[in-house]
């Protein structure tokens, strides 16, 4: 007898939660936080409703680029254990639907941000989506082991977009906020790559740990951490900085450098012996580093507001 059950009409029937998962909500939380800081520390203040809308549409743009990334990378995601349960490889959302959602939400978020704030902010959001979905995902991710560095740039734009949404232009403060996240991303991810035995290799994605080896990855972590310190301290000396940011920048960077130095001095035998303890600690601290650094900028903005 022919299958007359209701399932036969369509193989997949996504729930609303599947659509939300397509927008990478965990990545969105970082986007929301850093964009909020960029907006709050800017010398021009928006109406609170406009500011909330700006954050929402920046986050939505980030989510849309995540959906485009999942659409393009469905083949890789299905190979890797960590990502095999994402909506597209698990069959919950059809690839075409994900593409439509990604393109649709990209357009909507860019237009709405431009209308809510200004054209420059909308244009910068459009460039960020293009950079993440096309430059990173389609061109460079599968081609170079520096993919993490390039992908980091896409993640570094939100505070700059927040700043531009408030002021209408880019300035040194916005560039330095961008630079902090840009320089922070490689040590953060490469520390993870050292202790997470990943299956990127099976998926054909070049990772520095595989292409150049683990000692080279340790050297890269130290190099980026050294370059990060002057950027972080430099930001504390601009108009958005202050005593809290400067203190936080000095302490956090000394701590981060100490961790990176420790990782550089270790070899694989030592790391395996203690279960990658230093690498795991460094990775956890890197998360705190970014939140505390941007939190310090907020604190200084609050102090300036009170004076």
């Amino acid at each position: 007898m022919a299958d007359l059950s209701i399932n036969a009409t369509r193989d997949y029937e996504p729930t609303f939660g599947d659509y939300v998962a397509l927008l990478k909500p965990r990545v969105m939380s970082l986007v929301v936080f850093t964009a909020l800081v960029g907006l709050v520390v800017a010398p021009v203040s928006l109406h609170p409703f406009e500011a909330a809308c700006a954050i929402l549409f920046i986050a939505l743009g980030g989510g849309a680029s995540g959906a485009l990334n999942m659409w393009y990378d469905a083949d890789i995601d299905s190979v890797m254990r960590r990502t095999a349960n994402r909506p597209i490889p698990s069959g919950r959302i059809a690839p075409g639907e994900a593409l439509a959602i990604g393109v649709g939400l990209s357009g909507l978020s860019v237009v709405m941000l431009a209308l809510a704030t200004n054209i420059a902010a909308g244009a910068l959001l459009a460039f960020t989506i293009f950079f993440y979905a096309v430059v990173y995902t389609m061109w460079l991710k599968r081609w170079t082991p520096q993919n993490i560095v390039i992908g980091g740039a896409a993640g570094a734009f939100p505070p700059m977009i927040g700043w531009v949404a408030a002021t209408g232009s880019v300035s040194i403060e916005a560039v330095l906020m961008f630079a902090i996240i840009f320089m922070w991303t490689p040590p953060h991810f490469w520390a993870l790559a050292l202790f997470m035995r990943s299956d990127y290799d099976d998926a054909g994605v070049p990772m520095l740990t595989v292409t150049h080896g683990r000692p080279a990855t340790r050297r890269h972590i130290l190099a980026y951490t050294v370059l990060l310190a002057p950027v972080a301290i430099g930001l504390a000396l601009t108009s958005v900085g202050g005593p809290v940011t400067l203190t936080a920048a000095v302490i956090l960077n000394l701590w981060f450098l100490k961790g990176a130095w420790g990782i550089w001095k270790r070899d694989e035998v030592l790391a395996e012996a203690d279960g990658y303890r230093s690498e795991k600690k460094f990775f956890k601290f890197s998360l705190a580093y970014l939140f505390l650094h941007f939190g310090a900028l907020m604190a200084d903005a609050a102090i300036r507001g009170m004076v």
Partner: protein
């Protein structure tokens, strides 16, 4: 074959339809809210209409 009144697929569709519906309602509220904010603050709502209007130049500067 018996036809069940509600199938698991109906629940999933309901969740999706409610979610999309609520999202659209929120979007309408946002557009309305933005309009109210911009109009009450007095953002420029008019531009030159083929005829030079010197009084608007002063406003724009």
């Amino acid at each position: 074959m018996t036809i069940k009144a509600t199938h698991e697929i109906h629940e999933r569709r309901l969740s999706r339809n409610m979610g999309v519906g609520l999202t659209l309602v929120v979007f309408v509220a946002i557009v309305f809210g933005l309009t109210v904010v911009k109009v009450t603050r007095g953002d420029p709502m008019q531009a030159f209409d083929h005829v030079t209007r010197p009084e608007m130049e002063a406003v724009g500067q």
